[in-house]
């Protein structure tokens, strides 16, 4: 039996009079929603004082939703430790990058390393799981909420600072090993006692990138173990329910692959317009921000869908729970009106909520949950929209959801033929030494993704360690940190006939954060058949021309050239300090693109794809194709109509095509 996309919402019975859940549940069901997510911030209502639990309001709410025909996703309320807990144990509070305590009064005010907070996290998780773990309406769990939001992935003092030396000792065994691995001889930074090692903040000048890298890994491990403690309790007390977490947009505060382990599937929170304000790639970013102000940029959203869809790839067999629910991923929070947290918060275009929903489906999402049911009438988020307005009338998003035809959206596979590789170690190290104020790991990576999407391709985003057999083409835009083992895997892959495409700065750095003493590409030098010749950080206004075939492309931001030792140059620089040097090179199945320029990247990729029989279609700006379950979603994200292949695509619209 074909399953279809399902819908949900996030609701807050604790914010409204007690009669509302029953009314809301009825409306939600009429709107076609299946699930409701509850209680991720409700600790002070569950446990108003330590050990005094009040479940009545939540019992009644869950019963009301159940009676209304909705299935419930519950959350551990740990993002918001209550005042009584912080007052009793202020050492729970985290520290910011300026070394200051981050105070009570909003959310996420805790340090993942705090032993006392861990104890309370387990305690409240156990309490809620015991209360509702086997409630028939409860089908799954969300751990906490948006790990690392508001830069809370890392605390720079207190409990985290105290725990860092032991983590290092466990990793390195001896200070000699650590000093060597970090290159601490540089600037006499060698430690003689584990206790001397602090978080890399408030230094006189920049920190050692190896120090940063290990601090980031350490902090990531804290989130993973914090969550694992909750998951273990939920597995025990709430059998047969799924456990997920709602990850965030382009969040860099931890290794998502590490933290996602042990979940049944991942979810993420999709806020397209706010995302665009914050994450538009460099270049003409303000024009892009204005053009797509009311929809967000399709590829920024798509990137996150594809990232989260691929996050547990190959690990689906492990602990899949949640009888009767689709296997994910979910969009746990889907913007359905204006948000409140960007510098500017425009109203979405007419049709945008439908387009976002359809796109989510086409990129592999099984459930879309709108945030939030009714706009909050109090506190920090009153300017954020919901499906209902403050006065409980249906807002624009409601009407768009109502008009959705879910049978247009069958579940099934996304037939991606191209894998794009990503890892957080590379992200952290790249951004620790960007060498250019206009470049970053995300900018470089997303540029390749955009080039692929502009060619009409479906893309799987995978960790660089993932099993890549089955892909004809693998694109690794920015894997600056490469281990010898990864190099061997790439060699094997190339030997098997897979086309590999790498971007600049590939294999520049070791897992410890140094450079390869044999120079870029380190252990991949033979595979690539070249070494780095020069790299060039291009300030705004400075470009470097690349001649490729008949075309000339003006690289911006970054340009690398290569010394060939087996590879051949497909493109060379013209003029400037890199004149005549190799810009794009190939050896066998392996191609490296050294110049940053989206059209050049697209042209190179296009030829590789066509050579292996993957058809490409160069799409107009803002027009996108996405495929799932034998259907194709044709999308126009532009605020104006577009003529394409004999069709007139209405502004901000989509069509589901067969095949």
């Amino acid at each position: 039996m074909t399953e279809y996309l399902q819908l949900a919402t996030c609701d807050y019975p604790e914010h409204v009079p007690a009669d509302r859940p029953a009314i809301y549940a009825k409306q939600q069901r009429e709107l076609g929603l299946t699930y409701v997510r509850l209680a991720e911030f409700a600790w002070s209502r569950m446990e108003p004082r330590q050990g005094e639990f009040d479940w009545v309001w939540l019992d009644e709410a869950i019963d009301a939703y159940q009676a209304g025909g909705l299935k419930v996703v519950l959350c551990t309320p740990t993002p918001t430790p209550p005042a009584w807990l912080i007052c009793a144990h202020p050492e729970i509070l985290p520290y910011d990058e300026q070394g200051r305590v981050r105070e009570f009064g909003s959310r996420r005010h805790y340090d993942f390393a705090s032993p006392i907070y861990r104890e309370h996290s387990r305690r409240i998780t156990r309490a809620i799981a015991e209360r509702y773990g086997e409630h028939p309406a409860v089908v799954g769990w969300q751990t906490d909420n948006e790990w690392a939001c508001h830069n809370t992935g890392r605390s720079y003092g207190g409990a985290s600072a105290a725990a860092f030396p032991a983590w290092l000792e466990a990793k390195y065994g001896s200070l000699e090993q650590l000093n060597t691995a970090w290159g601490n001889v540089f600037w006499s930074m060698e430690y003689t006692d584990w206790a001397q090692i602090k978080p890399p903040i408030l230094l006189v000048t920049e920190p050692n990138p190896s120090h940063v890298l290990d601090y980031y890994r350490f902090c990531s491990s804290l989130i993973a173990s914090f969550q694992a403690e909750q998951v273990a309790i939920l597995r025990e007390r709430s059998p047969g329910r799924f456990v997920t977490h709602n990850f965030m947009i382009f969040e860099s505060g931890f290794d998502h692959y590490e933290v996602a382990k042990g979940l049944d599937f991942v979810s993420w929170d999709n806020y397209p317009t706010g995302m665009l304000e914050f994450f538009a790639p460099s270049g003409q970013s303000d024009d892009i921000k204005t053009h797509f102000a009311r929809t967000g940029h399709p590829d920024l959203i798509g990137f996150n869908h594809d990232l989260y869809r691929g996050m547990l790839k190959g690990k689906e067999g492990l602990g899949r729970q949640g009888a009767g629910t689709p296997s994910g991923p979910w969009v746990m929070e889907q913007q359905c009106g204006q948000v409140n947290w960007a510098p500017f918060n425009p109203l979405p275009a007419r049709g945008a909520v439908q387009l976002w929903t359809a796109q989510a489906w086409a990129h592999g999402v099984d459930v879309v949950s709108y945030f939030r049911w009714r706009a909050a009438t109090m506190a920090q988020e009153v300017m954020h929209s919901g499906l209902l307005r403050h006065d409980e009338t249906p807002d624009r998003g409601y009407e768009e959801v109502k008009a959705l035809k879910l049978s247009d959206f069958p579940l099934g596979e996304v037939p991606a033929k191209v894998a794009l590789l990503h890892d957080y170690d590379s992200l952290w190290l790249y951004d620790a030494q960007k060498h250019s104020a206009s470049m970053s790991y995300w900018t470089q990576t997303v540029t390749y993704y955009m080039a692929l999407r502009s060619l009409g391709l479906d893309v799987d985003i995978l960790h660089s360690d993932a099993d890549l057999s089955g892909y004809k083409v693998v694109v690794a835009p920015a894997l600056t940190l490469i281990s010898a083992e990864q190099a061997r895997q790439f060699s094997a892959l190339a030997a098997s006939g897979t086309k590999l495409v790498f971007g600049p700065r590939t294999a520049f750095r070791t897992p410890g954060g140094e450079t390869w003493s044999e120079g870029q590409f380190g252990p991949m030098s033979d595979l690539i058949g070249a070494k780095l010749l020069q790299y060039d950080s291009l300030r705004p206004g400075l470009t470097q021309s690349v001649k490729y075939g008949e075309g000339t492309f003006a690289a911006t931001d970054w340009a690398e050239s290569y010394r060939l030792s087996g590879a051949r140059a497909l493109a060379s620089y013209v003029g400037g300090p890199l004149d005549t040097q190799a810009a794009v090179i190939r050896k066998g199945h392996v191609t490296v693109i050294g110049a940053h320029q989206q059209e050049l990247i697209g042209t190179v990729l296009s030829e590789i794809l066509m050579n292996v029989g993957i058809s490409v279609e160069t799409l107009p700006d803002g027009v996108r194709l996405s495929r799932r379950a034998g259907k194709t979603l044709l999308q126009n994200w532009n605020p104006h109509p577009v003529k394409w292949q004999g069709r007139l695509l209405a502004p901000v619209s989509f069509t589901v095509l067969d095949a």
Copy 2:
């Protein structure tokens, strides 16, 4: 007998040799000055060590000014507690928004809540009042100096932090009430002990706006009570003298209406060029800054004149003191050359000092006091001009003052037929959740003021609680916080036939800082005959067209639309997500303008004004009309000549017309 504008200056006998006051007094009198303000920063000279007073220098100075024919305004020297006091009681020091102590070494380094500082404030006030309270030359007092300057309106730690819980307890009675009023259920922010409540700083993310709003109210109440202690002493020890305070430009750090209570009249400090650098409204602000660089913008200045003229409206009967002095307001510090504190500090245009003086008169000011007599030769303000240069020669401003003919400027009423409403609660709440980086309460409010001034109207700026009977038209640009009682008052006003005009976000929020659960316009929904449909935060480059009559206007920054329930649409949006929705609505005497666009606002206002028989004249940019005491001041603020109604207006000039 007709009274005329009088002039004054601020002088600092403690900065100059002892022979200077006699010389300066003679020059001041020759220049036509009547008053001299003294001693607002002179505590360390009055009391070099605790309990050791030295009055000789001030006795002699006051006697010299008296002998020269000047009347003296004295100040309490509390803006600058001396080193010996801070050293003995460092707990007097205030805290900044980063939680750091603000150190001794400039001025305003005290916390209004400090009990020890309050004791010393009363002690020094009593001492100076006893010494000079009945001195025949002393006609009035200024309390302290520029409340809240340099963000000192609020201390975020120390004494203020310690006093906040008790203030809250007095206001709310119980934590349950407070938690409900603030909506603390959101994000589990519910308190269980008063002592848990801190100033809203150093949080993980944004604070609860209700928390902010009450902290701002609390801090404002501290300034009010701090001043009240001084005023009580001055009233007792210096009978028959006025007490005033010199307020600042667009200062948001406290509720001016609350703090002004108990004064005889208000004064303010008028620095047109620096003001323009800091407060130009958004939009093409840099062009405006350059165009008016040498005069400031007439409406930014005029707004402050009208604000302070209206501040004690209806309270004039209370405690008017100061025999023989005009009843105010005063400009206590009037820029008379370049200032020193803006990013750029251009020289005023020729004629600017005269134009500022004439404008002050025309907007109701009775005394203009130039800051300062002689430019300081030491310390923080050496780059600030005075009437005399460092070398005691007359500077440009001196020559302009000398050429003024005071008999052109008779005192009398400003015949404003329009009231523009303002309140600080709305300002604080609006700016706590601006929803758009380019909008603010002041920008929205001043845009309406500019629209009125562009039509040649005189305007009274009044608190939203003021008695508004007698105005044919009342404009409330940005009253986002509305109480049920205020709603009733507006209804009564409309019922009486007064035309009411509201801007966007009106009546969106409750006095507690939440939204009305019945939605915007809350308790004014019936009066307005509509509810909010959508609001749109427009990023730069994004506009929303509005069709009004024959005209089309491109709204920027903000656009709201409405659901009608009694009102009718006067204008609708065209295109974009608000297409066809109501942009300007009217029910009976009540009009709401939902789109931010100055020309649209002007057009709507113009029609309303003409309908009630108030004549309007659309003025060229930079040309303004202001009326007082049967005269009209025609002003050209442009650096170029303007032809208008058959006249050629010279650059930076004015003419006093009869009627």
Copy 3:
């Protein structure tokens, strides 16, 4: 016998395997290098734990370099106190301007006033000097590294804060004197106890500039005495070797003239591309940054060469040590590829390394030492280039150095006929009260330097107290702080027939930081024959026209006018508030240029120079002439060819001409 330019490099044997120094030394010698600088950051390798010294690695390295034919410059390793020292004595750490401790983990983490650190500084200096002081390969010493880098010239707490009052007491004797000198009566800032005086940070608003000025002087004196302790030990233990220090680009953190005293010669670290990103003068700075992105700006570099060449002028007789080495100055670190620390780090143009080397020679440098030999493979500077790449292959710079012909570059005098005056007191006071966000002491000073260099002049940059006899023209662009003694010296100089040219704000302030109570030009008023009339801070977009001869110039940023009392106006303002006022004035041999405009400055200077028989040649943008030892270096810094005087100058190139 003619001596020629010599070359060197900075190498780090502690960063590489033990076999490398021998290999590197051979390569260095083959490349034509004479010196190698070692060990400025190697404390943790010299003394891994307190009192445990390990000299083996350094013994072997020095021996290897010696065997390879290189002479060694050793450094005191005090920029990087090791972890064991900081852990034992955390009170060594400095404080930043926000009052926070600056932590261990990078470099320069010490307070110059720390008694315990001074003890360790002397101890490690003595240890290394005893070990290598008379080693035959060791020819000289560098103290520490880059004083004040990363804003470490001043610590704002801890040891420095504790020592400040005693320094003040020694300077002023009594608090009365200090209060008078600082003008502390302003804002009641008078101190009653030395212990009340703190560093001028975390104040409510701006600090007293006199307070700032004395804090800067105090901090400068700490660096001077810190270095003097090391120099005394080196003199004693390492006779016959030179002692130098590698100063930085446009560093403002201390008085270089004071700190340079006692050295044999000064060195500096020349990073042209990073310098341009940080120090481009205001105006169209971004265009300049892009145009010269791959070479840096010739005049920014030249300014520093000329500054350091003149730093010990007249003091060469004192303690010249270092048998067999040229007498300096050196470029101790010369960029030879991309740097890593600017917002953008473009690759140098082809030929840039040669051009920088040739320019250094032509401006008086005797030794150019490339930073660094091999690019670091670890830690903070992996993105910084060296002569060798990470993989030890020769990088672009290496090839350029190899192609240099040193016999083109004979040592000898720079025949500068013009002196440009500079002092750090004026810099500090000017920038403490800039009065314009677009102006600064360096911008004003460098503009005059550029004007002179655009006329083809060689320039000596000298302290305002230097012996100036022998110069026909002396240009003092921004001496805002002038003592009565300096005024007398200028009078004597003018009386002797020297042409003096002053820029705006000259002689505005006293040595205490006040203004002259007789007004600008204070004690120079008679000499100049004028007084200040007005000064005008011009915001972007606002200009002030100046008519000079047939030309009209649009002054930006700053314009001053004068009242004449003996001087005559050479140029006057046209229009605006300064209309008809004197802009450029002259009395006898003294000229003052009140308007900021490079072409105007050039025109005025050009006439003065021609009048005294100094020939000028107006050079195209980016083309420069520099003379030394009877040769002329013709340079084209543009990225495009330039035709000039019948020659076609290749992009980024130079020619050495005879005479």
